[in-house]
């Protein structure tokens, strides 16, 4: 391999190492939907014709390996967590998959999920600051 190709490879690997990947989501309900509707990262369940407002927080694994989050215990043992960073709210991109639910923006990271018709749907969450798409299952039940 020529030196120039090595440089290109090194740059590519370095870039890949700094690319963050979405790992998890938090879905925080901001309103209490009627009929016992619920909202969490595990799924959203609301009645047709009703709505719930949620704040969505997306997290990435720390690409730096967590060195800055290591804690030295005693002289020899070092505990390193696997820290997560939340992506900027302004970088969030949230869409809805399926006709059962509709999505309305409130703020960068706050959305209203509306039950349009009984059936399943998904929220697809991505970020301009990270790779990957995470999904939240949405179930709309009839009233």
């Amino acid at each position: 391999m020529t030196p120039s190709r090595l440089v290109v490879l090194a740059l590519a690997l370095g870039s890949a190492a700094c690319t963050r990947r979405l790992e998890s989501l938090a879905v925080l309900p901001l309103t209490s939907p009627p009929l016992g509707g619920t909202a969490s990262a595990a799924g959203i369940s609301i009645g047709a014709g009703t709505a719930v407002a949620v704040r969505i927080v997306a997290y990435t694994e720390d690409p730096g390996g967590g060195a800055s989050n290591c804690t030295t215990l005693g002289d020899t043992f070092t505990s390193c967590e696997s820290p997560q960073d939340s992506v900027a709210a302004s970088s969030l991109r949230v869409g809805v998959e399926g006709d059962a639910a509709s999505l309305f923006g409130v703020e960068d990271d706050v959305f209203v999920v509306l039950g349009a018709a009984p059936g399943p749907a998904n929220l697809a969450v991505s970020s301009t600051d990270a790779v990957g798409t995470l999904r939240v299952a949405v179930q709309i039940f009839p009233q």
Binding site: L30, P33, G49, A51, A53, G105, V106, V112, A116, Q143
Partner: protein, 230 residues
């Protein structure tokens, strides 16, 4: 056990006190307030004698088929129904008709179409018509009861749609007053929406009837006599 009249009284009291909550009219996100307003005088929620088109700070339970208006405290926002469960019948005045029983989300949207707040309206199928007389104090009348009005005095007979438990429902519905004999109504009363202002000037007798939403009927036997009823 509570009587139907007491249930209805509680419901009316609830409507009248609808502005006394801790956070009156506040949307579920707390970014705006929703105010209910009556479109017509036939709306049982707003026909208080002193303020026939008053607005309420809490969204009352609505009758299916009823027409009502919503306002937002922030004039930059506009109430919006995201589903056909509530249809818009007047976009400028933001007037809705409740088409489907159950809960319906209503948004307050800004000029960019962003949702600033939301609220849920509860819509119930009306099952009966309640009657209330008002002459100084108020009294509930069972359908079929006798209403005696002394000649020379005035009594207001008010109708309101109610659910199967007797809870009064809000929203304007078609209200048609009639009588037997047919000319009795015009002789002794004046129609004002869901309120019949009865002021007999001579002895009369017959039946006064009200039909709400085309099919819900209530009627009273009517007697006007000099010096009091029978």
């Amino acid at each position: 056990m509570r009587t139907p009249q007491r249930l209805v009284s509680s419901a009316v009291l609830g409507l009248l006190l609808a502005g006394c909550g801790a956070a009156p009219g506040e949307g579920e996100l707390g970014n705006d307030r929703f105010l209910y307003a009556c479109v017509e005088r036939s709306d049982a929620a707003c026909d208080d004698a002193s303020s026939p088109t008053a607005s309420l700070e809490l969204l009352p339970v609505l009758a299916k088929g009823a027409v009502f208006r919503l306002l937002t405290e922030n004039p930059a926002n506009v109430p919006y129904s995201p589903t056909p469960r509530l249809t818009v019948i007047d976009g400028e005045a933001v007037t809705f008709r409740a088409e489907v029983a159950g809960y319906s989300a209503i948004f307050a949207r800004d000029a960019n179409g962003n949702v600033r707040d939301l609220v849920h309206a509860m819509v119930v199928e009306p099952a009966a018509v309640t009657l209330l007389t008002r002459q100084g104090g108020s009294a509930w009348l069972e359908s079929g009861a006798t209403l005696s009005v002394p000649v020379g005095s005035t009594v207001a007979l008010r109708s309101a749609p109610a659910d199967a438990l007797g809870h009064v429902l809000a929203g304007a519905l078609d209200v048609v007053w009639s009588s037997t004999p047919e000319d009795l109504l015009a002789t002794v009363a004046k129609v004002d929406g869901n309120v019949l202002l009865i002021a007999p000037e001579a002895p009369a007798e017959g039946e006064l009837k009200v039909t709400v939403a085309g099919s819900l009927l209530a009627k009273v036997k009517f007697v006007a006599a000099v010096g009091g009823g029978k």
